[in-house]
Amino acid sequence: MRRRRLRVIAIPCLAVAVVVLGVCAVLARFGHAYTAYPFLHVAADRTPTGDAQTLAQRAARAATALQRLRPTGTYLVVDTYRNRLHVYRDGELLRTAICSTGTGIVLRDPRTGREWVFDTPLGERIIETKRRNPVWAKPDWAFIEEGMLPPKDPNERFDDVSLGKYGLYMGDGYIIHGTLFKSLLGRRVTHGCIRLGDEDLEFVYNTTPIGARVFLY
């Protein structure tokens, strides 16, 4: 009696299990899954050929040319993710400063659809000019961001407060300058410029000559 009852329960369960497994097998047959493979490679077609001496000469030429591209003297390295500016001289780290860099936000002009990307540029820049008490000629976006039309009178664009005591100009309107909002140092809050605290700015201004290279990443 008990065995019969067990069979009554077991057989349908087994049947359901077989059907479910069958459906899963069919689905698995047609479905795809991520499969990892080792990163295998072969030599590229354009790999140079030649005897060992020729290869060594080519390698030496390339290594020398690479070495020549590397910076000498004073240069700056800016980490735009961690918001740190490093001052190097001949490869030796002189100072690390907390800075603020671009937000990466895009501002759109509601009238024209024109867009500005508030990114700090990446790659290499050169310190083109240095100025004490720099004056900021506010571009259109500075007004549009605050919901205002840009003024018609160009004199209304000048601001001699926001940039602090010193400015190091890297071209295309990007400046290393001071800030009124020191509590925001270390955060991505700017429109692409690099802001520094007063002491760090003074150090960078006095240490970095015009023509110095700035590596931004």
């Binding site: 047609f30 990892a36 030599a43 140079p48 390698a59 591209l69 205002m148 407060v161 009124l180």
Partner: protein
């Protein structure tokens, strides 16, 4: 000096001649370097470098080996697309704000810079893909999808069910770089269009 090393040096030289940032992926040393003009400005250790294909469960095919060294470029990356847009609904006349003083009289109490409260910047993701011009994606992630037989079978069943409903996905093959969460985040903004990635072969 091996021929592949010479080729790698010459490729790097061609990248370093430009003022742009480039990445150097050393699959053997499991390291990704961020470089400008030949200077390594950042180094990211990798937990793994794999090719990842979305294929049938018992697929016998394995992807062909890559010819290396090579320079691949990002053609569509999250550094371009994951951006926040802001646009004021309308623009008021400048004078209407009551700025009657000439700008020369600007004071620290009325700064022209951004407001004192920082705009909240969205946290970059720790897992994302960038399309490369070699037809593959670069998948930056903290961990790979599980590779055990049961996990893959479960994924295949789920995918089969989605395909049956006409909602199947066809992800591009990917080169996965597994790294720490924080490293993945800090690499996110570099994944922009035209960013070159120099991939090195075995030394």
């Amino acid at each position: 000096m091996r021929a592949t090393q010479v080729a790698a040096l010459e490729l790097e030289l061609s990248l370093a001649r430009r003022p742009d940032v480039y990445l150097v992926l050393n699959t053997t040393a499991r390291q990704l370097e961020v470089k400008v003009r030949g200077v390594a400005v950042d180094r990211i250790p990798l937990k793994g470098v794999e090719k990842l294909l979305h294929v049938p469960l018992l697929s016998p095919s394995s992807p062909p080996p890559f010819p290396l060294p090579a320079v691949w470029r990002v053609v569509d990356g999250p550094g371009d697309s994951d951006r926040e847009y802001v646009a004021p609904a309308e623009l008021r006349p400048y004078k209407a704000e009551g700025y009657d003083d000439p700008p020369a009289a600007a004071t620290p109490t009325r700064p022209a810079g951004p407001p004192p409260t920082a705009t909240p910047i969205p946290e970059p993701p720790a897992s994302y893909r960038a399309q490369l011009d070699c037809g593959w994606d670069l998948w930056i992630t903290e961990t790979l999808p599980p590779q055990g037989f049961l996990a893959r079978t479960r994924a295949a069943v789920r995918d089969g069910w989605e395909r049956l409903r006409g909602r199947g996905t066809h992800p591009r093959p990917a080169i996965t770089l597994a790294m720490d969460r924080e490293d993945a985040k800090r690499l996110h903004h570099l994944m922009r269009s035209n960013m070159p990635v120099l991939v090195l072969a075995d030394p």
